[in-house]
Amino acid sequence: MRPIDGTRIKESLTCERLPWLDFHGPRDQVQQPTERMRILFQSGQRLEARILAGMDVESVRFDPGQFDVGFAATLDAMTRRVPAIANGVLKLGEFLGRPDLLLLSEAGVYEVADIKSTQKVHAAAMMQIAFYSRLLGQIAKPPRHGHVILRSGERFTFALDEFAASLERLLGRMQSLRNRVDTDPGPHRVEACVDCRWQAVCMNDLEVADDPSLAPDLTREQKGALASAGITTLRAVAAIADTRAVADASGLAHDLVTRFVRRARAVTEGRPQFYGAVRPELASADLALAALVDERAKDAVVAVAGIVASRPDRFRVRWMRAREHAHPEQEFAELVKNLARTHGPLLIYGPSVRRALEEALDLDPSLADAVESVLARTLDVRGELRRACALPGFDRRPADAVRAAGLALVDHDAIDLDALGYLEDDARTDVDSVARWLRRDLDALLALRSFVVAGAAPS
């Protein structure tokens, strides 16, 4: 039986079923990591190596799978009071931990530090470190703090007792799943499924059951509430005629039920469902902006680009925060000044552009007024899309929305992977991949604009 380990703890926050499948699922149906996940994993390894190279560490070495050997070596290093132990093993009963670092504090207690390729601290990382720390506390003197070492090298330290109850609940759930006290939570589609090693298994189960979560953005609880009203399949959701009666029976808000019905119909009919109006200025907006934001890091902006709709050849990428760009502040100033000279609404998609411009004020606070005037003119195509239309797919990124809307888009995955590779690989300097990503998103933005204007009712 597979142990409960830190990775499983971390991943359980994304999907309730994932640990169950890891413990009990058909192993012959586990998929290989997607190209995206491989790139991210390799990037994580390079980051770890770079950070460890700057420290005086003793690495624990053992053959793959030989965790008992690794554990013995880790205990030996701890007994010798090695100040920093890399890639140690902590093993106790059904629990297994492989923290990146065990650091000997000034108080003489070992504390766990994990290296993450993100710019911000996330709950999953904290729970993983809390888990390692709990294991450590059963082997040696319990630590009081855990540490997340971020992509920038910055260290975030937190008090473990402030998160103890959270870890205990997670562990309890893990143990219940592993020991089959709890049954299979069942599949439920979320956006992260696309990269999951169990995607094929779950999608098969979802389609066989005609699961309502095949329509996007339905939570498990909402699915459960619909089930309590006798609505248990996607087609049943799509067939709901009396939304108020279902809202009353399920306890869900009426507008939520209405939204689910529209999305379910979009999926079952294989086409978007229009129901609302859009702002009239959407049709006439002539300039679109896209920003590349590393979604995992949530705040690592690489570039902002613009395109003039009436002159699609006029595509400009400005302001790269990329390392090889010597003067990002000049590029940013040029971008903002050029934008401030334009007129009319500026089409954007979601919060990325706003966030990118706001954060870049760190480069040049004197541009605040110009940024403000630019931001005031932004018109969010995703917001208008959601007001007017239900798509049969996720819409968080323009390329996803285009695909869900059934519009043509070139080289979706290849462009994403190229740009992702550029983001992750410090050695590469190919900004063309970023430019291709941005151009693709801008074209998607304009296509979605035309799509929703054509389909929506007049405002």
């Binding site: 609940r169 909402q222 399920s250 705040d299 403000e372």
Partner: protein, 577 residues
Amino acid sequence: MKAPLPERLIAILARERRAGAMQLRDVHALSLEERVEAGEAVKELAVVSSGKDGYTLACPEFVARFRAGDTLYLGDGTAIDAGAAVVFREYDPIRSLVLVDHDRFAAPRPLPAVGAGAKLVLDRRDADFADRTMAAVRALFQSPTYAAARELLIGRAPRTQAVECVAGPERARALGLDATQSEAFSAACSQPFAFVQGPPGAGKTRLAAAVIGAFVAAGRRVLVTAFTHRAVNNVLEAVARTDPSAPIVKIGAERQFEGLDRTRVQSVPTARAWRDQGGACVVGVTTHAAPGLLGQQFDLALVDEAGQVSLAHACAVLPLARRLVCVGDHLQLPPLVIAEHRDPLARRSLFQHMHELYGSFLLSSTYRMNAELCEFPSRAFYGGRLVAAAQNAAQRLCIAGDVSPILAPDPPAVIVPQHHRGARVMSHAEARLAADLVIAAVRGGVAPTEVAVIAPHRAHGNRVRALLRRGLPELSAELLPVVDTVERLQGGERDLIVLSFAASDPQAVLGEAQFFFSPNRLNVSLTRARKKLIVLLSERLLDAYPDDPESLRGSDLLRRLWSTLPRVEGPASAAGA
């Protein structure tokens, strides 16, 4: 390298202003129906009367989020910013009237002409005080006159600077202050600055009034300030009660005198209109209006609820006095921040800042909660140092007649597990239970003014309120128990509090994790009750793991609460809402 402090503060203010303007723009882009649905507009209004102060409007249905002081447009609902600039005063639910005042600070504009039978609409309007606050920040850091205030803000003020001692321990004894209050009082009266952390019910306002009274008795001039008019008025009223002869002035518009005895407190409309009469006085003004007093010098500035005052707003206050006392609690409600900021300074209050630089005095007795109600907040937030005072440690809620075990006097704090599913902002079943408990308490002899329901979301609160109106028809609307968000109850207390979370979807609540799982809001929510706290909570919420560390910490507190408080099952009901 970080930018200098004034640049950071101005950048934060600028970002807040942009975020406010963007939010408003997004709201104004919605249709009228969407705005009304979101609580950001009121439609179908008709002018009943108009006068030099404002308008009285007939209003068939009011479900907006407007609060007293909110700046609004009164117009036709389409050309929103062509409407007349008004300020919301109140909604009278008995007569279905909305009262709004002319905004004296905005350019006067007549009401737009509407056709016969057409109605008016109230829409939100931006109230931008950022320029004034930015000017105050620049003044603090650029003027040589304010060097001492600057040094205080950046942590270089000497504690040993000799200042007059306006009152000694004998005065503290005469006032009946307890040990920690006396210690804080002595420091405030004898040191150039003092910071007093007042956990819930610890007597912050009483201490503030005592310090102010000591300065007034010594013939000194005192500035009282806070973020809200209500907080300023609380302190001024407390001063008036303890020292009826103290000359007290409140700066503000007529509608901003709620809770003040007008026979004891003089009113002045603006800071610039205030004139120093010489001699001792107490002047109350909000931090927004404080920049209007720049150039004046008080002997003491007392900042109340300093945990809700941002550092930027503090810049307008610090130059106004030779000495500073801050009373507050950085573990209760923080400064209001609407934008996303990378700079942690944006969420840092004046109190937290000073507490970390100079330390603070902790008031360790609570005169509100009984011992059992005090236990969890004391351990979770105050390191176990907060204890119930002897006089209230054993107080219990007594309800006549045969009542549900949920309302039994013991245990004083209980969780009633909720079994509905999929609720994000409202649950009918939970609203029903909350209302039933309140109705049973009132019928059993608990005064309606001693009961309140705390609900995070307006929709849920509205539902509870509607059920109370139906279930307590003998009570007029203004006498019904309060149902509101925790922000409206900070500083308030009741014998019985029902805390109704309403939500049961762990994924859905993650979208507003910073609001829902704020440790500070949880602290305030758990510490309003004197005798009995009933928490309506779904166990499913315990499976929510918010992504940011602060919200994750709040969710951990909720999990600890679940495992600490005794659980009492509610009446059997359908699992649906």
